[in-house]
């Protein structure tokens, strides 16, 4: 036994750090996600989106998406894209180290992914230092693009816009139902992301004339949330906006049901979108509004969404989740830039990214397209949707012109 330990030690110490030589005509891009740790389930979900996107770019599919009908990147002789995944473990140092590793060892020419805003902060810093473009389609903290990074681009609308959208939706419902809604409660997990959402909600609530009657931060590792929910109940809000990861979303839903918290509108984010959330809470998740940048029934307006979902379902055995769909977009943006740059030189890709102008029709997201702000590099055509859980399905209900079904209002009594 001791010899085995000794051998293990030696192997680990002496193992040479050889990087595999890149094959010809393969373009490597990196994707970093929390593949282990507390958010591993979401990380795995995001990973499927990236994998599928790259599959479609590399293969030949009869789809109305860029690069679908051709194999690989046309301008580079059909070069294939290969994704190198890195595991951030949800930790900023490791996120940075993994990003650096895949950039320097695997020689990826662009990086996508991240998921947690805190991790993206350091991961994008690594890309900035190493001068490799980082295209983010799945983390929403406004602080990320406020840094003025040269190599960092974001496709997804940030929390400020999403918060604004949430309150706009409430306003719209108010007008349509001819009711008066004033009392808003914001419930947020106390890390980088939740804190930013709360900040933006506060800002826009003031703008739109809502009263914040409860402003409740909590730790997402909580084992029990009775006190949080009772606090919420005491404030008697008409709207509850909840910025949660998965486990806390589940816990709050169950506890709100148990303690009969009865708002008129229930709005969830991130965690509520995770497939395992609905699987776990079942019927209790009904009629929550969830902010998203994807909805399956966008298919009524974008037929390609349904086709992609079919392919996804064949591959992974379930419907494509909004998280997977978010991550799905970034590889296309990168491929588009590489194609236009006709080069895999990171600097050329960056220049091409600045000139990105993808139409909304080329995306499965509800964005009007992708075009980056020259300074912040945020997508100026970004837009978010609100879905409502109806009969165990996420249905697009807002904006009204994209709605697949009418919303249900008010939030019915718990069963």
């Amino acid at each position: 036994m001791r010899k085995i330990i000794l051998a293990l030690v030696l192997v680990c110490v002496l193992a040479p750090m050889v990087s595999t030589a890149a094959a010809d005509n393969v373009i490597k891009i990196g994707a970093v996600y929390p593949l282990t740790g507390a958010t591993a389930t979401t990380g795995a979900d995001c990973r499927t989106g990236v994998e599928l996107a790259v599959d479609i770019i590399n293969g030949v599919y009869d789809l109305d998406l860029p690069f679908a009908r051709t194999a690989g990147i046309p301008s580079l002789g059909g070069a294939k894209i290969e994704v190198v995944f890195g595991d951030t473990r949800g930790d900023p140092t490791q996120g940075m180290a993994e990003t650096e590793r895949i950039i320097t060892e695997d020689k990826v020419v662009a990086v996508v992914g991240g998921y947690q805003s805190g991790v993206v902060k350091t991961a994008s810093m690594a890309a900035e230092r190493l001068k490799v473009p980082y295209v983010l389609s799945d983390a929403t903290s406004p602080a990320l693009t406020e840094r003025g990074f040269e190599w960092f681009f974001r496709v997804i609308p940030h929390d400020g816009i999403q918060a604004k959208n949430a309150l706009e939706m409430v306003k719209d419902i108010e007008a349509k139902e001819k009711v008066d809604i004033k009392r808003v409660a914001v419930l947020w997990e106390n890390t980088e992301w939740g804190a930013n959402v709360a900040l933006e909600i506060r800002k826009w609530a003031k703008e739109y004339g809502f009263n914040i009657v409860a402003d409740i931060p909590y730790t997402y590792r909580a084992t029990d949330v009775t006190s949080e929910v009772l606090k919420l109940k005491a404030a008697n809000p008409e709207v509850i906006i909840h910025a949660a990861y998965v486990s806390d979303a589940i816990l709050f839903t169950q506890t709100m049901k148990a303690l009969k918290v009865q708002p008129k509108i229930m709005i969830g984010m991130a965690g509520h979108l995770d497939p395992s959330y609905l699987e776990t809470v079942g019927k209790d998740g009904e009629y929550f509004f969830v902010r998203a940048v994807y909805g399956l029934d966008m298919a009524s307006r974008k037929p390609v969404v349904a086709k992609i979902n079919e392919i996804y379902k064949k591959k992974y055995g379930r419907d494509m989740s909004p998280n997977a769909a978010r991550s799905f977009t970034a590889p296309f943006v990168v491929a588009d830039a590489i194609n236009r740059a006709k080069s895999t030189n990171p600097d050329d890709i960056r220049k091409a990214l600045l000139e990105t102008d993808m139409p909304g029709s080329s995306l499965i997201s509800p964005y009007d397209g992708v075009r980056f702000d020259p300074v912040t590099h945020d997508n100026v055509l970004g837009k978010s949707l609100y879905l409502q859980v109806q009969n165990g399905q996420f249905r697009v209900v807002w904006p009204f012109d994209l709605a697949a079904v009418p919303y249900v209002y008010p939030f019915p009594a718990w069963k």
């Binding site: 282990t36 740790g37 507390a38 009775t226 006190s227 816990l251 148990a258 699987e279």
Partner: protein, 286 residues
């Protein structure tokens, strides 16, 4: 409102207590602070989940079965690992359970994926009203289970021959050994029992709580504080410490602010042990 809060705190405390008692028992007998206790609770939750999914055993009714399984598992873990480390230096004893914890949590992810799961059907679902107070039935069942386990441990330690021998060990190891008590066997039994408690806790939690590989970590941490608060080595102390923590968490979370609730628990711990360096009911060596 205060009634509702107090009830919530009490129920939560009993559930923490269920996790804590096993931890305390293990510590009392072999002086090991089991940092892997949360991981064992997690394993028990999975066991309960699989039993309900494939065999159709209700988590609540399956509690004794899961406890029994965990008892056996505990004996195995003791024989394979803990027993060997027991003779080693203090720090190895402290760290081995950290290693076990990392191992089991990631083993769960490896075998069963990081997805969240939930037992779909259980007899203890629903809410009952007691005057103005809402009580979640599964929590109530878990709390009653906790008190039953506490009673069983009390009975076992005071009325059975093995229990008395275990108590003798936790009071004075070397004297107990001189009296002809078989330390190895009793250690294994005590470790098994500690895990059986974790098993009972896991099964009862599984009846209403979601399950994923990292689920036990926070329970383990809180239980650790509860045990230290009550005084290492005292199972009654562990239960009392846990209930105290449950109440502090719920009341503090409401009146001071949810973001501070864990800080309050830890603050309470620090204040109490500074005033009483061996916890509320602790005795024995450090």
């Amino acid at each position: 409102m205060i009634l509702q809060l107090a009830t919530g705190g009490l129920l939560l405390g009993c559930i923490y207590g269920l996790v804590s008692m096993g931890l305390s028992l293990i510590y009392g007998v072999m002086g090991i602070v089991n940092f892997a206790h949360g991981a064992f609770v997690m394993l028990a939750m999975y066991a309960s989940y699989w039993l309900s999914l494939f065999v159709g055993i209700d988590p609540v009714l399956g509690t004794p079965l899961v406890a029994l399984l965990m008892f056996g598992f505990g004996i195995v873990v003791y024989r394979a690992i803990i027993g060997r480390v027991l003779r080693g230096p203090f720090l190895a004893r402290l760290l081995v359970t950290f290693g076990l914890s990392i191992f089991f949590i990631n083993m769960a992810q490896f075998l069963w994926s990081p997805d969240y799961r939930m037992v779909q059907k259980s007899i203890s679902r629903g809410i009952i009203m007691l005057g103005p107070v809402f009580i979640e039935l599964p929590k109530l069942v878990a709390s009653i289970g906790s008190l039953i386990v506490a009673g069983l441990i009390y009975w076992f330690l005071r009325k059975t021959k093995t229990g008395l021998a275990i108590q003798a060990i936790s009071i004075d190891r070397s004297a107990a050994a001189l009296m002809g008590i078989n330390l190895e066997r009793l250690n294994a039994i005590a470790f098994g029992l500690g895990l059986a408690c974790a098993g009972a806790a896991g099964a009862l939690l599984a009846s209403y709580y979601y399950i994923f590989p990292d689920v036990g970590t926070m329970f383990g941490l809180v239980a650790l504080v509860a045990v230290a608060l009550g005084g290492f080595g005292s199972t009654e102390g562990a239960l009392i410490g846990a209930i105290l923590i449950g109440i502090i968490e719920t009341l503090g979370g409401f009146y001071v602010g949810p973001e501070y609730k864990y800080a309050l628990i830890f603050l309470a711990y620090v204040l109490i042990v500074i005033a009483r360096p061996k916890g509320l009911m602790g005795w024995g060596a450090d």
